[in-house]
Symmetry: C2
Subunit: 352 residues, 2 copies
Amino acid sequence: MPVGTVASVKGVSQDILEELGVQILLGNTYHLYLRPGVAQVRQLGGLHRFMAWPRAILTDSGGFQVFSLNDLRKVTEEGVTFRSHLDGSTHFFTPESAMEAQIGLGADIIMAFDECTEHPASPQRARESMELTLRWAARSKKYFEQHKTEVPWATERTPGPAQTQALFGIVQGGMDAALRKESAERTIEIGFPGYAIGGLSVGEPRPVTREVVEATLQHLPADKPRYLMGVGTPEEIVEYASLGVDMMDCVLPTRAARHGLLFTSEGRISIKQVRYASDPGPLDPKCGCRVCRRYSRAYLRHLYAANEVLAQVLNTVHNLSFYLDTMRAVRHSIALGNKTQFLAGGQSRAKS
Amino acid sequence: MPVGTVASVKGVSQDILEELGVQILLGNTYHLYLRPGVAQVRQLGGLHRFMAWPRAILTDSGGFQVFSLNDLRKVTEEGVTFRSHLDGSTHFFTPESAMEAQIGLGADIIMAFDECTEHPASPQRARESMELTLRWAARSKKYFEQHKTEVPWATERTPGPAQTQALFGIVQGGMDAALRKESAERTIEIGFPGYAIGGLSVGEPRPVTREVVEATLQHLPADKPRYLMGVGTPEEIVEYASLGVDMMDCVLPTRAARHGLLFTSEGRISIKQVRYASDPGPLDPKCGCRVCRRYSRAYLRHLYAANEVLAQVLNTVHNLSFYLDTMRAVRHSIALGNKTQFLAGGQSRAKS
């Protein structure tokens, strides 16, 4: 899921995102709550209509941004007090107000309000934080069930199953496998149509991330979406998908693009390097995106060196294309695997 | 002609420019000479190949940029010494080196090296500057004739008439009608396939601009392209086209877009205004561009207020669309006028 923090994937228009095959975008509740504000988006019919994006949208709970952008946040049982990174104004998020915000924004998938446990955290701190997230998950669900029909498009869409949003739970528990297991089981007890693994990519070594993902995944139902938040590199998303993760989001393809770091079938390219100034070849000879079809490395290097806005636009389009191609390959190989399995099953049935 | 200063129309990809119907782009010799450098562009096959733009390109002579970006420039009979706005390094442009640069860049239309007379200028200063431009025009033509086959694509393109570039002359003469007439006549004596009116939009009142344009145009051959440099607003380009101007370039649509100033059929809109924050309507209800078809004023206002790069991208696409629509309407009305004239002529012939 490409990240469109404030209802825009930085530099890329929605037409291009559609062409790239983006199925679902992520919006950040924290940012959208601050600007343009939930009331504004609600009044304009919700995020889909506001940003002219008919495909799926997921909003995060705001918990991670409060955690990562606010040194001055104050957490109590009731919720989190934090200061806006825009103007320093004070705000208070509770599970209830985070649900209210996400219902008002009207994404298709919304996330329970959680506390993202910092790393490192003592065993006691990790448990207390996990327990808090569990209580907040119950409160999130309760508020959601009472108010879910207040989504801006509740009565607008054509008759069908999706007249309300889907609220996902978030598993926390720090880097401790036992805590993660307990968090998963007790989140499942509360009951959600999908589950996310939160609290990773917070500074821990990558092997630890993988261990925690594996330790957590096995306790989450395979017949419901399993969403790993905030990862990762192209190699990582393939790896996590192979472990059973269904959904991932990451700012890496878009943020790296803005810094001239491009993912290609031949490895990573830092397009700012002078070696590309005379390179007439495409960025990635194996990529069919509109950037690789048309422009040379020399031109992309020139745009970056000249600080042209088109550099960010084209670099982002390519990196998203590379990520989406990667996920298409993953899905293709899953489909092939399933088919093989199915055929094998069919043959064995035919034999019996 | 949209302006693509360093081989990019800021924020807009070449695909979109094609879709908008852009027939010709302007590149700035001064900027391209400094970055990425003429040798670089030449080695990569010229500007068309470098920026992946198969349609027409015009490069200016560099004279105007040296004039407008360099307080420390020093003009002699031989040429102009100036400092780079990028790194302060010293450079020297002569008519010959400006031709060499433009031949190396390989645009379809290139401009004679001129001195853009400042405003206000005394009669004596305006005459001396005009005389210098005339001598430089002769030197530009001489160098061009001797070196025109050195254009990067001289031997690449398929057989046909356009194996070399077209060098246009530039009329100067300050704000004095008599000097302009003399400059036009003597530039025509040197002989070029097209003529530009330079030295306007340099701070003079708009009515003066119009007077000078009218005073100059009547002395330029109507059967050759007449190019008015550096104008203007949508109203002005209609007005100048009606006077007989064939080509114009201006940074206004692209630069204004970056500042949130948008041209519409209902007048100018400053999209940053809070009044648009809740406006669900299209930017311009009469515009069919991909921005007006898809996005609301509220979304465009949000993108601008949030300082999102997509604001620049979408605003620029719309403003270019508005300008190109304006010029399409101008061409349509010229065609209609000509047809009416032709039909009238035909009828009178039929009667006789």
